[in-house]
């Protein structure tokens, strides 16, 4: 095969990849603009409209289709994601810091941590439910489910930070110590600013993984549903394009999150630059 052929082949492969990646999303997005309330979740589009978006926010006249029962679930999921993000990132950073030096049993501990993202979610969720029952603990999204979310996302944060520390030059810390800076202050003022982009990545991982976690939450969250569970619950009745409209909004939210991440990354660079100017003044 000649160079043009290879180029064409790779191009085709990439195109197919993108179709499979974004195809389902695009279909959802298109169908979310179906007319309502009579239009269903299938092609063809009878008429383009934003009916289902209005329906989400209760801006349409009452009809036989009930609004999505997601308001509280959304608040719960966001709260849970933030809680998980904070705890997992702190654990991830401190655990990775501990792993910078070999300690006795570090190999075993490493696999124990990573196990949290390997074990099947349904099993862990079910197990947690059984344990809670046995011990007489009430299941709540902010309790049992939260613990499972941390167990699940902490390894991701940990691995991200491990990779960051792997490229971190420890002589910078030694230089600080030799200037008389205490280890605690060295971590806060020297190490942390340098690993901050990695910390942001760990936070992003923990947040998004927790936000759309389903299988672990299913058994462990008790009576009050998180967002993925609430949406799944509506499927059992009848699917209307309002779910798609919500899906589009959620995706936009994720993009916004990524955007925030990019801005924060940029800021962490710029803030350093501003320091430079302050010093000069």
């Amino acid at each position: 095969m000649n160079a043009t052929g290879i180029k064409f082949g790779l191009g085709l492969y990439t195109a197919l990849f993108i179709v499979f990646l974004y195809g389902p999303l695009a279909v959802l997005a298109i169908l979310s603009f179906q007319t309502g309330p009579e239009g269903g979740p299938q092609f063809p589009i009878i008429e383009w409209s934003t009916y289902w978006y209005k329906h989400l926010f209760g801006l349409t006249p009452p009809s036989r289709i009930a609004p999505l029962p997601i308001e509280q679930a959304l608040v719960r999921s966001l709260t849970l994601a933030v809680m998980t993000m904070i705890v997992s990132t702190v654990l991830g950073v401190t655990a990775a810091q501990a792993f910078r030096k070999k300690f006795r049993g570090s190999g075993v501990v490493f696999y124990l941590i990573v196990l949290g993202m390997m074990v099947p979610g349904v099993l862990v969720g079910l197990g947690m439910a059984l344990v809670a029952n046995t011990l007489g603990i009430d299941r709540h999204w902010w309790g049992t489910a939260f613990v499972l979310h941390v167990v699940y996302t902490f390894p991701f944060a940990f691995l991200v930070m491990l990779a960051i520390f792997n490229r971190f030059d420890p002589s910078v810390e030694e230089a600080a110590w030799s200037l008389g800076v205490t280890p605690g202050r060295t971590f806060r003022k020297i190490t942390f600013p340098l690993i901050f982009p990695g910390v942001l990545s760990a936070m992003l991982f923990a947040f998004t993984l927790s936000y759309d976690e389903f299988s672990r939450t299913l058994f462990a969250s008790g009576r009050d549903l998180t967002l993925p569970l609430a949406i799944y619950g509506t499927f059992s009745v009848e699917v209307h394009p309002n779910v798609f409209a919500f899906g589009v909004l959620t995706t936009l939210f994720s993009f916004a999150l990524l955007g925030t991440y990019a801005v924060l990354m940029g800021l962490s660079v710029r803030r350093a630059k501003r320091f430079a100017i302050q010093e000069e003044a």
């Binding site: 002589s171 910078v172 008389g180």
Partner: protein, 364 residues
């Protein structure tokens, strides 16, 4: 007398049982410039890191100005360290990098600024004080690291291959600056290097290390001309090392029977009755004579047959390679005035000779 730095029987054994430094003894006076010289893995950097406090000391004692430092954490030792990769704080400006050590000590701002400005001026860094280190050249970063280490006024400045990452010209320039700076400040410097030219040019005394042990501690010239051990003889300068047995003494000279004849040199200290010895002949001490001049040289000692194998002139230096009868190659060089091009073409039969006072006899 209280020394700035004392290492008494200091040893380092790694967790896996490998000894890195064995029985290290050294006393350093205030204001001395000491170089640790040796091949990679000889323990020189480990010793430096033990002095800084980054590595624990397995055995023995380390004292700074008479105070035992073994268990003092690095931030409370009166040392500061300069790293090969400079280890500047990338998120701080040059000015803040240099002032950070004073900042954490709680020095008032005005006093601190004045101090930082002074050292930046001394090292020619005023113009880049507001810049970030990652935008600067290797030489500039090297100076920043020096300024940062010196501004906190350590008793001892530790330097770990500080010139290793610079190109040859810059290295030469900073080498000179370093020497001048050290002399004017009067601070004790301990400098780790694997480049003998750096050690020979900079230091008051050189500690040659090999496989975790000290081989020799001497001022540069003495180290160069009078090696104590076969390792130093091979490592420093360009010496021909001939092994043999002591045959006797002739005045100040020790006569040694070797595979290529009976030769003479000066004993370096007592040979303590050892009969197996090495005769160390520096390349600079060896003279080349045409075969026909043997008569003219009379019965001088230290005449060795050889054949010229290679002869070339690079600029003003003549480089000769001679092959001895036992197959050993000896490299020589001298100013081109001494050996003019064509004097000793490849293949010509020659004699090599040297003054016994310039050769050293050491225990094998």
């Amino acid at each position: 007398m209280i020394f700035d730095l004392e290492l008494n029987n200091v040893g380092k054994v790694y967790d896996n049982g490998t000894p890195a430094v064995i029985d290290f003894n050294l006393s350093v006076a205030k204001g001395e410039f000491i170089a640790f010289l040796g091949p990679s893995g000889c323990g020189k950097t480990t010793t430096l890191r033990m002095i800084a406090g980054f590595e624990s000391i397995s055995s023995g004692d380390m004292l700074i100005r008479g105070e035992r430092m073994n268990d003092v954490p690095p931030q409370r030792r009166p040392t500061s360290m300069i790293f090969q990769n400079y280890a500047l704080f990338p998120h701080m400006t040059v000015h803040r990098n240099v002032g950070y050590g004073l900042e954490v000590k709680g020095m008032p701002r005005a006093e601190r600024e004045a101090k930082v400005d002074r050292i930046l001026a001394t090292l020619g860094l005023e113009d880049i004080a507001g810049r970030k280190p990652d935008k600067l050249s290797g030489g500039q970063r090297q100076r920043i690291a020096l300024a940062r280490g010196l501004v906190v006024e350590p008793d001892i400045l530790l330097l770990d291959e500080p010139l290793g990452a610079l190109d040859a010209n810059l290295r030469k320039a900073i080498q000179n600056e370093l020497k001048l700076l050290q002399k004017s400040l009067g601070i004790t410097f301990v400098f780790v290097t694997h480049a003998q030219s750096e050690a020979l040019a900079l230091s008051d005394r050189i500690v040659v290390m090999n496989q975790g042990r000290i081989e020799q501690v001497s001022p540069p010239h003495q180290l160069y001309t009078r090696p104590n051990t076969p390792f130093v003889a091979q490592f420093i300068g360009r010496n021909t090392v001939l092994s043999g047995e002591v045959a006797g003494n002739e005045g100040d000279d020790v006569v040694v029977t070797t595979g290529i004849g009976t030769l003479a040199g000066r004993a370096n200290g007592a040979l303590s009755g050892k009969s197996r010895v090495s005769l160390v002949v520096p390349a600079e001490a060896i003279e080349v004579h045409a075969a026909g001049r043997r008569e003219a040289l009379g019965h001088a000692r230290n005449l060795v047959d050889a054949r010229i194998e290679r002869s070339e002139v690079v600029g003003h230096i003549a480089h000769l390679t001679a092959r001895l009868e036992d197959g050993r190659a000896v490299a020589l060089e001298a100013h081109v005035d001494k050996y003019r091009p064509g004097d000793f073409p490849a293949g010509s039969q020659v004699f090599l000779s040297w003054n016994p006072a310039e050769a050293t006899v050491i225990p094998a």
